[in-house]
């Protein structure tokens, strides 16, 4: 298997080895070993749940900082949708966009416009598709979750790019023509709310290579932005998207933009898992569209945001209203489609990382052993052994990464004897 890279990481010195993240991880990707959390990288979907719950702020996302833009001759900021919800606005998003010039960027793009393009494109795909429900591509953590836990639903995923990627392609094309620059001299940086987005830049799903060169977390530049925002000097008209495009920042925004009635919009990774289970059972074949987000409230609740997700969502809603609900003309989208690729070029493969062995007979033997061990364990899922629950501990013993003595209850019994 190829080495897998992902964004969420541990700051070892801050971790005190508590079990909070351990139990919240939806893919059981965390273990506590030698008193510190450890992420099993193949299992991590970068949902950022652990970043949100860690009381010691020991989980972070590998990302870029403002220094890293300097190595490019021309610097592009791709402003992510959730950022619009991070400020008390006087109804003009352009003020936020213009702040980025003072941070050192040469040009700023409105990612919500990419969402507008996708609305038109998705609407077309939904009309033509017989498969139900189609699953939105936007949340990369959900796509990875499907690869790992619901591989039979891969064919339901709409195989198109994200607003970030589309905006990056349009931006680079435009800048390269206007300034006669090669692509490698242009740096496009996504101002990100989300570790899974960072991963999707470095290890994209569905395409060979991302057009985005890096990602800078919203929270790492937030205070700088706040200071600039007060009296930002430039006033370029950068805002381009409709209210519908902006609305993609919150759960339900895609379905609203698409004008759908028969859809499911679900936020919070545990809720998403429950609905995917139902889809896999064929119970929801009457639903047209499913948009699922790892984060509560959608991207506006991403772990690298600053503002309370519900307050930010309210602002997004207000902004959507103020920028109107006009969709892009089909002809405008057709023109765009002529210049850039928006469909996925690579097949999405199931990731069989949960399996005990690639040989089924051996896997069955291991499963029997796992069950035997599991029955011996106390079943209280305390997490003290370093595995998220007793079943996972039994699995770790079978895989050879834990021993029965790691169980405190069993050890106590032994000592008592």
């Amino acid at each position: 298997m190829k080495e897998y890279w992902h964004s969420v990481a541990l700051e070892k010195e801050k971790c005190n080895g508590c079990t909070i993240c351990l139990r919240r991880c939806p893919t059981e990707a965390i273990r506590i070993r030698d008193g510190k959390a450890k992420i099993i990288k193949e299992r991590c979907i970068d949902c950022g749940e652990c970043i949100k719950v860690c009381p010691y702020h020991a989980k972070k996302a590998f990302a870029h900082d403002l220094k890293s833009i300097e190595k490019y001759e021309f610097k592009i900021a791709l402003v992510s949708l959730p950022l619009y919800g991070q400020f008390e606005l006087d109804n003009d998003i352009n003020r936020i966009f213009n702040c980025f010039y003072e941070l050192g960027f040469d040009k700023v793009y409105d990612v919500a416009y990419g969402a507008d393009v996708l609305t038109t494109l998705q609407s077309d795909i939904l009309k033509k598709s017989k498969r139900k429900p189609l699953i939105a591509t936007l949340c990369p953590a959900i796509i990875r979750l499907i690869q790992i836990r619901f591989p039979s639903l891969i064919d339901h995923i709409i195989p198109i790019e994200s607003p970030m990627e589309i905006t990056a392609r349009l931006a680079k094309k435009e800048v390269s023509q206007e300034h006669c620059l090669d692509f490698n001299k242009i740096g496009a940086f996504y101002i990100t709310q989300c570790p899974a987005k960072i991963t999707s830049i470095k290890k994209p799903i569905g395409i060979k290579e991302s057009y985005v060169d890096g990602a800078i977390p919203i929270k790492s530049i937030y205070t700088k932005l706040l200071k600039i925002y007060k009296d930002v000097k430039k006033n370029d008209k950068i805002q381009k998207a409709s209210g519908k495009g902006i609305g993609w920042a919150r759960v339900g925004g895609q379905s609203f933009a698409l004008g759908l009635d028969n859809y499911l919009a679900v936020d919070g990774i545990e809720n998403v898992i429950k609905v995917l289970e139902e889809i896999e059972l064929g119970k929801l074949n009457n639903i047209d569209f499913f948009e699922g987000y790892a984060c509560v409230t959608g991207c506006v609740g991403g772990p690298l945001n600053v503002e309370n997700p519900f307050i930010a969502r309210n602002r997004i809603r207000q902004l959507s209203k103020c920028y109107g609900d006009k969709s892009l003309e089909k002809s405008e989208v057709d023109e765009i489609l002529k210049t850039i690729q928006v469909k996925w070029t690579e097949k999405i493969e199931p990731l069989g990382i949960l399996k005990l062995d690639s040989d089924i007979e051996k896997a069955i033997k291991k499963m029997e052993l796992l069950d035997k061990i599991n029955k011996k364990l106390p079943g209280i899922d305390c997490g003290s052994c370093g595995s998220p629950n007793c079943h996972a501990m039994a699995e770790d013993v079978v895989r050879g990464t834990a021993t029965l003595e790691d169980c405190i209850i069993m050890l106590k019994k032994k000592v008592d004897k």
């Binding site: 591989p151 039979s152 896999e280 059972l281 089924i360 069955i364 499963m367 069950d371």
Partner: protein
């Protein structure tokens, strides 16, 4: 769970209670987790999940309670759904799409569309059903790997 007499294999067993809608789906979800860990191909997992889920729902709605047994072997998955009655009067009729004896209360919950048995048959490679009035129904389904 435990070893199946002679060959390599895994046996899973789930008790299904009458009228317990809230727990319906637990068996199929548990089976899915085991199959994923065994590295079973995703379409076989989906078929097994649907077959077990429909069997679970049938036992919850129509029977006095029962059991679901799943035997996993390297070449096939065998599902046996066994209930404690009352039995099916006319199996041919019960196998027809859209036929259901479910009560209005059950239908209001979104179940009882008459697709249970047809879906079970469709999801399995081999399908057997036996029923005796007053005693109960046994459905056996095989999904080849």
């Amino acid at each position: 769970m435990g070893s199946n007499e002679k060959n390599t294999g895994i046996k899973l067993e789930y008790e299904i209670l009458k009228d317990d809608f809230a727990r319906a789906g637990e068996a199929s979800s548990g089976i899915k987790k085991v199959l994923r860990q065994l590295g079973i191909d995703s379409s076989a997992i989906r078929k097994t999940a649907i077959a077990t889920y429909e069997a679970e729902i049938n036992i919850v709605i129509h029977s006095e309670g029962g059991k679901i047994l799943v035997y996993i072997k390297p070449d096939k998955i065998e599902i046996i759904a066994k209930d404690n009655g009352p039995g099916i009067k006319d199996i041919d009729l019960a196998m027809q799409k859209g036929f259901s004896t479910a009560s209005n209360r059950v239908r209001e919950l979104g179940f009882g569309a008459g697709m249970g048995l047809p879906n079970m048959k469709k999801s399995s490679d081999e399908f057997y059903i036996e029923s005796e009035m007053g005693k109960g129904t046994t459905v056996k389904m095989i999904i080849t790997l």
